[in-house]
Symmetry: C2
Subunit: 225 residues, 2 copies
Amino acid sequence: MLQSPPQQGTLADIASHRLAHSIVTGELAQGQKLNEAELAERFGMGRGPLREALRHLEGMRLVKRIPNAGARVVVLDFKTMSDLYAVREALEGMACRIAATRMTEDEIDQLSRLLDSHEMQIKQQGGGVYSQSEGDLDFHFQIVRGSRNEMLMDMLGSEQYQLQRMCRYRTSRNAQRTQPALQQHRQIVEALAQRDGELAEMLMRRHIQGAWRSISETIAKKEQI
Amino acid sequence: MLQSPPQQGTLADIASHRLAHSIVTGELAQGQKLNEAELAERFGMGRGPLREALRHLEGMRLVKRIPNAGARVVVLDFKTMSDLYAVREALEGMACRIAATRMTEDEIDQLSRLLDSHEMQIKQQGGGVYSQSEGDLDFHFQIVRGSRNEMLMDMLGSEQYQLQRMCRYRTSRNAQRTQPALQQHRQIVEALAQRDGELAEMLMRRHIQGAWRSISETIAKKEQI
DNA sequence: TTCTCATCAATTGTCGACAATCGGAGTCGT
DNA sequence: ACGACTCCGATTGTCGACAATTGATGAGAA
């Protein structure tokens, strides 16, 4: 899929991926102090590679480092998530606009079939919100790839993608949004097929706005308890 | 200004900034191999901090690292620049839209005065394309700050900002675009003052599209020789 | 000559130990 | 009792040396 699990490569890369996974899944709590020596021993490596991994994760905004005071897992508060969704709206909207002019017919067909499989998966059973959520990320990234914009692919693939997943792990997605989301996905594919970049961008932006509204409402409901 | 020169801090940060500067100004050629031992000695530090700096620069897309094969300065070819401007259009457009609802009257006034000083600077003399260009970056970043979106500020401030400057160092900006650019800046401030986010976004996007068109034409002209 | 393969220098990846810095416990003085 | 100061433990920052990998060079066979 997206994050290729590098069982091989430099130790720094391995540590980076393992840490990213632990942070995204919540195994490492938000704001938790990351002790270099402890983590290095846990991963069976020296502190050198681990420090490089922390620098990398800092670039991905998964940890926040303070000189001479160590690194901490980032805290995904409400405002940070809000900021994240604004950025995603802008970037994925742009990706969608460009993709409308650059995706091949085949790719658009493939996208359509991907939605078919999602629909099947939903109808057969709840199917687990998790796999549906991962499928959603697949859909979005296929469009980003369709833009042929390497920078967009990097930004949305490597960096934002992890924060996005972290966000979803926290706010376990309510299943009643899968239906309208699928509908919106279909509309987006339709716009892509018609090569209407402006419309595709607008639909994608509304789609992401809707997702954020849903999430923020969920959070507000949770916090009132 | 934006990039604070950290004469103090960790060696890795110092190396990162010095390398970034050397890359942006072209002192280090595009695609040039970056030898760790050599750079470490030049900066008077060990290879540890330097490796961390390289990891950081990799996150900023200023260098490209290949495992077991070293790091190289990124090559800013036409497509990369094109991709960069598409991303900027999306992000700064969004920043502008949000800024229209969140900037204070004072901040907007200040922005207007900034443009006055730019106009003065242009009228008094060509004033050097350089300082005008830096002033332009100032204008853009003030708006990004106005969006109150930390993620946007980070992305456009730390990462894209350097690539942007690198881009300008290569294609020495033609001075005849300063006039229409200033005009467009005025229109954007006007839209912000009227709290018209949609208009402000559209104007900013067109402004950046115009800048890209100007740059790409310059490049095309250069390559024909 | 040209292709293949083995050897080797150069460079990257990694580790352990030392120095510098920070936070906190404890103490002293008011 | 409260505040400030000092000292110490813990943690981060840094360095030098060693191991592993690369690709380059050159020898040898077809």
